[in-house]
Symmetry: C2
Subunit: 353 residues, 2 copies
């Protein structure tokens, strides 16, 4: 018979004491996620690569620099306007590698399927994954499938892990933002999260809002060619939206970030949906956008390179890095005030990816 | 609103038509798993590395040979005699890399947690993973956590993916078995599956049966040093037991495998439990054993090297490769008969890893 688990030698660090059990927000990419990582996973797994907290880890192997990343996808519904869990699972890991400055090369796929899930739906998902992989120029080279009993899953959960190769010399990561950097975003905010929520809530809008799921690796190659060592941070603002990504970067780099609210690009239909749903687009997930921190003097060149790519056509400078209020993100509002944009605490949009 | 998924262009290959929905056996590592891979995933993701069907894929990167592997773990219960889902998740991927002939180096961890899961249990699992990783000499360098609503999971599902490095010259894999090879197993059969089932069924045995979960990478280094290019196939017989692994190898290498039933090592308490539960130990999962196919002339040297390692103390030759009945596994029984040991069709032991 199994011994009862002995947790007596684990002293719960303070911030987790408020949550003796897992809450939805622990998977939301906001403050609770960060606490779980900082106070539970990092102390357990401690090593330099993990402590960097990038979207992918950059690790040495036989003289090369490898990027290694993993992401699980539990989005509901599995199919939505603009994509499916299959597209998301491939593009998400491709993007995590790319924003770390790596060229994505190989992916693995781990499926957890629920008994009774239609084979035809699985075929459709596999097909979406294959198309997304071809489009991004990566190969799916290894996989695994587990099945859980009816009622113990949601049809299909997917993990993708990816290997990339870092070939340039500069270090890019959330700790490298510098005062004077311009903050560029590659297009409109909140499309993915709003698309999912509007389907899930059964809301009817005049225009269907489509997820922006896309592989950003080619766009990011253009960013690196144009900006080179002036590119300091790249991040795909998924769960928790740009607010969470910018807060993480501000904290990690010990700098302030100042946004100009009027320059934040949000589609009219997304803005309308967010108002109906009570969401702030800066907290809503994107799945095909990249934030770029680049030295101010080089921002124009990078912006032009991004706009020349179809996925970066709507790129715009949304703010800058300041030596004021390190660790904080603030926005100059349209009425001339300044508001703090804090890290998201709970889970505004569960199961968005 | 989302378009209804269009499956019209997917023509279900014949073997899957019998199962329009996912059955437990599609995750069991037996015949249904193989059909899903052959008729759905391979056609979708087709590439050479995947088609090899090894436990890990061996892929080229900047002149090196990388091994890349992924595995999801959905075992119930999460804690059992001899280990936990945390140990399994680390050792399982370490072993998949090692049996492919690679030295395991880096792991990723993707967690899917259920709302309400105790933080203390998660800490215990993370601790088990960290200890297993240290013991195997690998680093956990990247991770991801998602949370699903209460009732949509089983506390904790874990995916681990791993990167290894292949440094020797020979090719090792399920297609390389040769007539005249001896088949060695590194110890007793069925310990893991029987341990899980006896806990789950609430069976009381005089002796507690413990899972054999262990990292085999050092034992396998000894195998490679002793056997070198005479080592043709290595495999960790997990889901579906040695029966499924041997059938896969027999099919992939187009050879026959002949087992001597009396030489199959099974602990008395495991044999008793299997009789009670109606299980055949050759189909029961192992999580700390390796099957080695080595040229007959070199078998003794490899056997001695394996027995010199604590995890291989009970290694024994259990059979040989024959040019008879290619693609089949047969056993000479203790009463002098010969029985066919087919691939497992359904799922004898669900959720065993």
């Amino acid at each position: 018979m199994p011994e009862p688990p002995d947790f007596s030698n684990w002293s719960c660090p303070l911030p987790l004491r408020d949550y003796p059990t897992i809450a939805m927000g622990h998977g939301g990419g906001g403050k609770l996620s960060a606490e779980l990582i900082e106070h539970l996973f990092l102390p357990a797994f401690r090593n330099d690569a993990l402590a960097n907290l990038g979207d992918a880890s950059i690790v040495p192997l036989t003289g090369e620099r490898l990027a290694f990343s993993t992401d699980s996808f539990v989005v509901r519904p599995l199919f939505f306007p603009g994509g499916s869990i299959g597209d998301l699972a491939v593009n998400g890991t491709v993007n995590d590698l790319a924003v770390s400055g790596a060229r994505p090369v190989y992916l693995s796929v781990g499926m957890i399927l629920e008994e009774g899930f239609p084979i035809a739906s699985l075929a459709r998902i596999a097909d979406d994954m294959a198309k997304a992989a071809r489009s991004a120029g990566v190969q799916i080279v290894t996989g695994d499938t587990k099945v859980v009993e009816r009622g113990h899953g949601d049809g299909c959960y997917i993990n993708t892990s990816g290997i990339g190769l870092v070939t340039h010399a500069q270090e890019i990561g959330p700790t490298h933002a510098q005062v004077g950097d311009a903050v560029i975003v590659s297009g409109t905010l909140g499309d993915h999260g709003t698309a999912i929520m509007s389907v899930r809530e059964g809301l009817e809008f005049q225009t269907t809002i489509r997820s922006d799921t896309a592989a950003l690796n080619v766009l990011i190659e253009h960013v690196l060619q144009a900006g080179n060592s002036a590119v300091h941070v790249m991040r795909d603002p998924t769960r928790g939206g740009i607010a969470s990504s910018l807060n993480e970067i501000a904290t990690a780099s010990k700098v302030g970030v100042v946004l100009e609210e009027k320059s934040l690009p949000v589609r009219a239909e997304v803005r309308a949906a967010c108002e109906l749903l009570g969401l702030d687009p800066v907290y809503v997930a994107n799945e095909g956008k990249v934030l770029v921190f680049v030295a101010g003097s080089r921002a124009q060149g990078v912006l032009e390179a991004m706009r020349a790519h179809p996925l970066g056509r709507d790129s715009v400078v949304i703010g800058k890095v300041s030596d004021q209020h390190p660790g904080m993100v603030v926005a100059h509002t349209m009425i001339g005030a300044t508001r703090v944009i804090p890290m998201q605490i709970g889970e505004q949009l569960p199961r968005i990816c």
